[in-house]
Symmetry: C3
Subunit: 256 residues, 3 copies
């Protein structure tokens, strides 16, 4: 339990996919935030106004959520609210790539978090992605990501066997997690919810990105004692709900 | 296991949100009901005709579900089917408040269940709600709720540290549950599914409201032995699936 | 763990309902596949092109998913991709029956999987279905199903106390499973995901249908040691994630 977050109970507004929406809500709660999911264009601006941070996730697109996500992003920028992008599946279809480019063009994100395939597409490198999971053996030039973060003034998180976080000035590699995190749908989406919860509670953007990413990896390690994937998944929520400040102090946030 | 419900296996038609829709289905099944979720306006009337009770939940609005909910409600009224409203987030945005007022105006509900922030908005009292969770320290004039129930001829359930149920004539306070129920998304939505399942099985509207509310609180107490929130959540479903008639007999349904 | 599937990691594109979408994704992953859920008509064709198998599930209809499902099905046929239909709730409403008939008319399915009520509707026999669960005591003329499979050149799976699989030439009855599988929402939907994952990994259509159906039943038997339904459900995912080739060898695929 992290008292700073539990005391503030930041409201995290998600415009997200229908596959992992429940897990994102529960992960936000497990860390001490208050999730809300509202995508009717008639209430998006007002809900962003109430929120402490906003999550945009492109996992399941349809015309109305695309409209709502653009509106939420522009509103968050206008109101100075932290906003995180999880560009799920960019590079997999033309629609996703184009829409995510439109989001990137119109909105200044606080943090962008993706797997190696997604971030490669974002920064304009060729990728072999297929669907929404990272391509096998996808490698990434971290220096190019660091440069992109500096140029766009956005924190970039690349999740993977080694997670990489950069704000264009500081950078950090996190050797945490387990391969089994890729065997539960939505662990990436939930990482974005954790980062948003830290942002909404007032943590700095780089620290929020590092802590959220680290917590999911750590939760995976703790849950890895479970033999079956059902228990592993339950264990992720157990672990986040039982995290303490000591866990955050384990992270080495500088150096590379 | 409650034989009355398992024998009838009432069909509970939900027009609900995308965040907790799976949990509502599983909670309905855990109590012995049969859930169905159909929101295409082309089949709503027919499905309401098959249903034993209907749940309207405003957690995630969009134009088509708003249309479907109004249609389902009017159809339930016309056919004399029990119908429960879970006015999620009323007071949080203008859209929600206005749409829920429209639902209340056009439809006579059997039961309305909300947290203190939501019920305050419904009965026209000022609230400090933000998002879909109850505002901290929200207090409520139970007498005003009792009067509202009498005037509108609807059972009102206010969930909270002490749950309150009134049909305008009888009233009951339930000192059951645990704060951790607020740390799992959808426990309120699931309470509505439990109440609807009792309604669909033929219980009286006041008894259904009391029993459904009590069962969720009791499930929370039983699940509270679990340290982590993932196991706690799983425990809620275990507990409801293992409830017996003896559990219902624990409830004191009169007095206040 | 089934190495053939884990090595290929087939991409399974789902156009499915919002109730069990998360469980279908996790069940696909548990067996070693990679799930994707994309229903924006602007990306459906492209995503089908990437997929190794496609699942169409009619659990929650609305106009845009109906359009997307027809488009996905025709595209899968054109590209020669395996495609499975889960005709949830056919017979319950006019919309569902008509739309599923339209799907059957326009698309040649590799496998169709339903409960007895749904398959009876499909092959034109009277049924007493109500909602999306199988009607109590529903019986089915397996010979008529076998003939229908032969006439339409589609594998038909009827799930129930005894599962029945036929390709019109071979047939097989599977005495596996537990009644409790009906007490968790989406076990039928998840069976379709398992079958699709076998199909996507290159198994023959009859073997894929038998293996997917058998695995869900076996998972139910293994999970049945759990007292509560929450633990039972978690146990299903554990069991599938721990399945081995030996499990598949238990199945008797011929004879009846």
């Amino acid at each position: 339990m992290l008292p700073i977050i539990h005391d503030k109970k930041p409201l995290i507004h998600h415009l997200t996919n229908t596959v992992t929406i429940n897990d994102c809500a529960n992960m936000t709660l497990a860390l001490g935030g208050s999730p809300v999911m509202a995508e009717d264009v008639l209430e998006v601006e007002e809900m962003v106004g109430l929120a402490d941070a906003v999550v945009i996730n492109t996992g399941t697109l349809h015309p109305s959520i695309r409209e709502a996500q653009l509106l939420a992003g522009k509103t968050a920028n206008r109101l100075g609210k932290p906003i995180i992008l999880d560009p799920v599946g960019t590079g997999a279809t033309t629609l996703r790539t184009n829409f995510i480019n439109e989001l990137m063009h119109d909105i200044q994100f606080t943090v962008i978090k993706g797997n190696a395939s997604e971030i490669k597409t974002l920064i304009g490198q060729a990728t072999t992605t297929k669907g929404v999971d990272v391509a096998e053996g996808e490698s990434l030039d971290f220096q190019a990501v660091h440069t992109f973060a500096a140029q766009t003034n956005q924190v970039i998180v690349v999740t993977g066997p080694i997670d990489f976080v950069t704000d264009g000035s500081r950078q950090c590699r996190l050797d945490v997690g387990t391969k089994r995190l890729g065997q539960v749908t939505g662990t990436g989406c939930m990482t974005a919810s954790l980062i948003a919860t830290f942002l909404g509670a007032g943590y700095g953007r780089f620290e929020a990105a590092v802590y959220g990413t680290y917590l999911m990896g750590k939760a995976g390690e703790l849950a890895d004692r479970q033999a079956g994937i059902g228990d592993f998944r339950t264990g992720l929520f157990n672990a986040v709900s039982l995290m303490t400040e000591e866990t955050l102090q384990e992270v080495q946030t500088d150096g590379n």
